[in-house]
C-alpha cells in the first residue's frame, strides 16, 4: 500500500508541476517510506509514495505502459492479480514486471474504465490515458483505500490524504460546518463531503473520469440486498455455512499474497480469531499476531487474546494502552485522521500499528467487516428489540430485553422497563422511519451539539444531518428486510466513513502498515447480503451463520463469546492529563478563535470532568468531539465564516 497524488490542470506545466508533486508526496511520506516517484507532462502530473509489498524490485511508480500511452499511480492491492494476469496473457498481453500495478495497466487496455469490475482488492488509483486525454480515478468497492479531490482554478488535484491537497496554493483549509454537524450526528462527514469545504471524497465503489468538460463520477458497484418478500425464511443452513467458510478461506488465502511476511491483528474477539486461525493454516511459518491491551479492565480483552495465542501457537506481541497514552498521542491522532472525531478508539489502533511496524511487519490481516456483513453489532439486536417493543408499547416486560443487549453498561442494568423504553425511544419511534435502527444512536450523538456556538447553529440553520443521510438512501431501500436496512446503514456509511478511515487506514498508514480485510472481499460481502436475516441474527444471537461455519476453528469459549464492541476510554483518558495542548485547545481564546463552540458550556464541561468525571454518552461525545475539532482547526490552520472578522 502506498500514497498517491496528482493533478489534471491546464495551468500546470511539467516544470511547476514537479515542485507541486514533490510537496504533495512529501506531505504523505508516512504512507510510503520505501521510495517516491513523480511523472509530469503538460497539464497532467502523477506522484507516488511507495510501501513495497509486491514486486519489491520492479514495482516503482508511477508506472507506464509506453506502447499504449498509459501511466498509473496506484495505492493498494489487487488480490486476484495472478488470475487476471493469466487471463490477459492468454489474450496476448506481455508483462515486464511481476506486479499487480502492471496488471491494472493491461486490464485497462483490455476493458477500459470497466477494468475495475474485474479487480478483487483494495485500491485507489489514477490512470492517465494519453491517447484519449483521459484521467481515470477509481476507488475500491468498500472504501478501504482513501481518495480525495478538489477543484483548482484550471483543473483538479487529487490525493490519498487531504494534507497533500493542501500543498496546492489554490486549495485552502476551510471548515465545512455541515460536515461538522454530520460528525456530531453519525460520526463522519457524509461523502462526498469532507470536513474541509470544497474538498471531496471519491465515494467507495466509484469512478471519476476527467476528459473534456465536467468530470463524470459514477458508481461501478453497489451494496444490494434482496427484497424482503424474496427472502427465504432460513434457506439451507448447512450449505450456507459451507459456502461462507469456503469463500472466507479463499478471501484470507489470497490476502496472504505478498513478497513480505503477513501478520494478523488478534483482539480476542470472534472475527480476528477466525481470520488468524485461517491464516495460521495457510502459512508454513509460525503466524505473527499483534494485539492491544488496556489498562482499564472494562476495555481489556487480554485473557481472550492469550487463549487464542495458545490455541494457534502464534508469535504474539502486545502493546499496553494506558489512559495517559491516549491523552499524550491524541493530537497526532487528529492530525492523521484529518478531522474531528467523537471517540478516542483510533488512538489504540495507532499504537497497535506502531507495534506491527516495530516488529518488522508492514502487512496485517484484520477481522474488520464481519460485524457489518454478518450482523454482529449491538445496533442490529437493538433494532430487533425496539421493533418488538414498538409493536406493544404498553408492555411492561418487553423493554427489559434491552438489559440483555448491553451487559457491559452497568448504568443500563439498573434501569426499570419504563425508563428503558423511554431511552430507546420505543414510544416515539415510527416503524416507517427509514433510519429506525439508527435513530437512537444519531439522536444521542447529536445531543452533543448542545456545545455548538450560537454562530455555528445559525450557520447550520435547519440543516439536519440525519435527513441528509436519508436522502442518500437508494429507492430500493424501503423494500429490504429491517435487518438489511440496518446493515446497509452501517456498511455504506459508518464503515468507510469512520471505521476504515479515521480508525483504519489513517491510523495504520501513519506507521506505513497495510491492513487487509478478508471479510470485505466483495464476493463474501455479496454472499452475506444474500443470506436470510434469520441466519445472521438468530433470535438475539449475532453472527449465527459465521459462528456455525467456523466453530471447528476456535476454542469453544471464543466461538461462543458474546460480542464486546471495541471501545477505548474516552474523556476519562484526559481527566488526569496536564498536557499543555488541552488548555491551548480549550481556552476561551482558542474557542473564540475558531468560533465553533460555546466557551461557557465547554468550561462547565471541563469542570465537570475534573470534579466528578463524565459518565454519559453525550458528555463523552462532546468532550472528545470538541477537543479534537479544536486541535484539528489549529493543526490545519483552518479558517471559517465563524471566525472571520466582520466587515465594518
Amino acid at each position: 500500500m502506498c500514497g498517491i497524488v496528482g493533478y489534471r490542470d491546464q495551468g500546470m506545466t511539467a516544470g511547476n508541476g514537479g515542485a507541486l508533486l514533490r510537496a504533495m508526496t512529501q506531505a504523505i511520506a508516512h504512507r510510503g517510506p520505501d521510495g517516491d516517484g513523480h511523472w509530469t507532462a503538460d497539464g497532467i502530473g502523477l506522484g507516488h509514495r511507495r510501501l513495497a509489498i509486491v514486486g519489491l524490485t520492479d514495482g516503482q511508480q508511477p508506472m507506464a505502459d509506453p506502447e499504449a500511452g498509459l501511466v498509473i499511480s496506484y495505492n493498494g492491492e489487487v488480490f486476484n492479480f495472478p488470475q487476471l494476469r493469466a487471463d490477459l496473457e492468454a489474450r496476448g498481453h506481455r508483462f515486464r514486471t511481476r506486479t499487480d500495478t502492471e496488471v491494472i495497466l493491461k486490464l485497462y487496455r483490455q476493458y477500459g474504465a470497466d477494468c475495475v469490475t474485474h479487480l478483487n482488492g483494495d485500491f485507489a488509483f489514477a490512470l492517465w490515458d494519453a491517447p484519449h486525454r483521459r484521467l481515470l480515478l477509481a476507488r475500491d468497492r468498500m472504501g478501504v483505500r482513501p481518495l480525495f479531490w478538489a477543484r483548482t482554478p484550471t483543473g483538479i488535484a487529487f490525493a490519498s490524504e487531504i494534507k497533500a491537497l493542501l500543498c496546492h496554493e489554490a486549495i485552502n483549509p476551510t471548515l465545512d460546518p455541515f460536515a461538522l454537524d454530520d460528525i456530531f450526528t453519525h460520526w463522519s462527514p457524509l461523502a462526498p463531503r469532507t470536513i474541509f469545504k470544497d474538498i471531496n471524497e471519491l465515494p467507495p465503489g466509484h469512478l471519476m473520469i476527467i476528459e473534456a468538460g465536467e468530470p463524470i463520477i459514477r458508481p461501478y458497484w453497489r451494496l444490494d440486498f434482496p427484497d424482503a418478500t424474496d427472502v427465504a425464511p432460513e434457506g439451507n443452513e448447512d450449505a450456507t455455512a459451507e459456502a461462507v467458510l469456503d469463500l472466507l478461506t479463499d478471501a484470507t488465502r489470497i490476502r496472504m499474497r505478498a513478497d513480505v511476511p503477513v501478520g494478523a491483528y488478534l483482539s480476542g474477539g470472534l472475527d480476528s480469531s477466525i481470520i488468524a486461525a485461517l491464516a495460521a493454516r495457510e502459512t508454513s511459518e509460525r503466524l505473527s499476531t499483534f494485539s492491544v491491551a488496556f489498562e482499564s479492565a472494562e476495555h481489556d480483552e487480554s485473557g481472550f487474546q492469550r487463549q487464542m495465542v495458545s490455541a494457534l501457537g502464534t508469535n504474539h506481541a502486545q502493546v499496553l494502552c494506558r489512559n495517559s497514552d491516549i491523552a499524550e498521542i491524541f493530537p497526532q491522532i487528529v492530525e492523521m485522521a484529518e478531522r474531528p472525531i467523537v471517540r478516542t478508539a483510533p488512538a489504540p489502533m495507532h499504537m497497535l500499528a506502531g507495534l506491527v511496524r516495530d516488529s518488522g511487519y508492514k502487512v496485517v490481516l484484520t477481522g474488520e467487516g464481519a460485524d457489518e456483513i454478518f450482523a454482529g453489532y449491538d445496533i442490529f439486536r437493538e433494532n430487533k428489540v425496539r421493533r418488538f417493543c414498538a409493536r406493544d408499547p404498553k408492555s411492561e416486560r418487553r423493554a427489559l430485553l434491552f438489559k440483555r443487549l448491553y451487559p457491559y453498561l452497568p448504568q443500563l442494568q439498573r434501569q426499570n422497563a419504563a425508563y428503558l423504553a423511554a431511552y430507546f425511544g420505543v414510544n416515539v419511534a415510527s416503524l416507517d422511519d427509514p433510519l429506525f435502527s439508527h435513530r437512537p444512536r444519531f439522536r444521542s450523538t447529536a445531543a452533543a451539539k448542545l456545545f455548538f456556538s450560537g454562530d455555528l447553529k445559525a450557520e447550520l440553520s435547519d440543516y439536519d444531518a440525519s435527513d441528509a443521510l436519508a436522502a442518500q438512501l437508494p429507492e430500493r431501500f424501503g423494500r429490504w428486510h429491517p435487518l438489511h436496512q440496518a446493515q446497509y446503514l452501517e456498511t455504506r456509511f459508518l464503515l468507510p466513513g469512520y471505521i476504515l478511515s479515521a480508525q483504519g487506514d489513517r491510523m495504520a498508514m501513519a506507521h506505513g502498515v497495510e491492513g487487509r480485510f478478508p471479510f470485505l472481499d466483495h464476493r463474501l460481502v455479496e454472499l452475506a447480503a444474500s443470506i436470510p436475516p434469520a441466519l445472521k441474527l438468530r433470535g438475539l444471537d449475532e453472527k449465527y451463520i459465521l459462528r456455525r461455519a467456523t466453530r471447528h476453528l476456535l476454542p469453544a469459549e471464543i466461538g461462543k463469546r458474546i460480542k464486546q464492541p471495541y471501545r477505548a476510554p474516552d474523556s476519562e483518558a484526559f481527566a488526569a492529563s496536564a498536557a499543555p495542548y488541552i488548555e491551548a485547545a480549550l481556552s476561551d481564546a482558542a474557542l473564540a478563535r475558531t468560533g465553533m463552540f460555546n466557551p461557557r458550556a465547554v468550561k462547565a464541561l471541563r469542570e465537570k470532568l475534573a470534579s466528578s468525571g463524565l459518565t454519559g454518552f453525550r458528555d463523552n461525545t462532546a468532550f472528545v468531539g470538541v477537543l479534537s475539532a479544536q486541535i484539528w482547526a489549529d493543526r490545519f490552520a483552518v479558517s471559517s465564516d465563524l471566525n472571520r472578522p466582520q466587515a465594518a
Partner: protein
C-alpha cells in the same frame, strides 16, 4: 422561586452546562430531547430529595414522574401532600 423554576435552573446548570437557550418548555420530555440520559436520572433524584425534602422510592423512578419539569413539580407536590396527610 417556584418549584418549576428551581427544577429548570438545576437542569440548565447540571445537564445543559449553563446553556439556558437549549432548555425546553416545562411540559417537554427530558429524555426525548436528549437532556437526560440513563446516567443522569439518579442525579435528578438526589436533587429532588435534597431540594424538596421528599423521599423517592425505587418504584417512583419512572418517566411519568420525572420526564418533564411539570411532571417533577407535580410529583413533588403529591409527595409533600402525602407526607403532610
Amino acid at each position: 422561586m417556584t418549584a418549576q423554576d428551581k427544577i429548570r435552573s438545576f437542569i440548565v446548570e447540571n445537564f445543559l452546562f449553563g446553556d439556558a437557550d437549549s432548555m425546553i418548555e416545562n411540559s417537554g420530555s427530558l429524555i426525548e430531547n436528549e437532556i437526560l440520559d440513563s446516567t443522569a436520572v439518579l442525579e435528578l433524584v438526589a436533587f429532588v430529595e435534597e431540594t424538596f425534602s421528599v423521599q423517592v422510592a425505587d418504584t417512583d423512578i419512572v418517566p411519568a414522574n420525572l420526564d418533564s419539569v411539570d411532571a417533577i413539580a407535580s410529583f413533588v407536590a403529591a409527595k409533600a401532600s402525602d407526607a403532610a396527610a
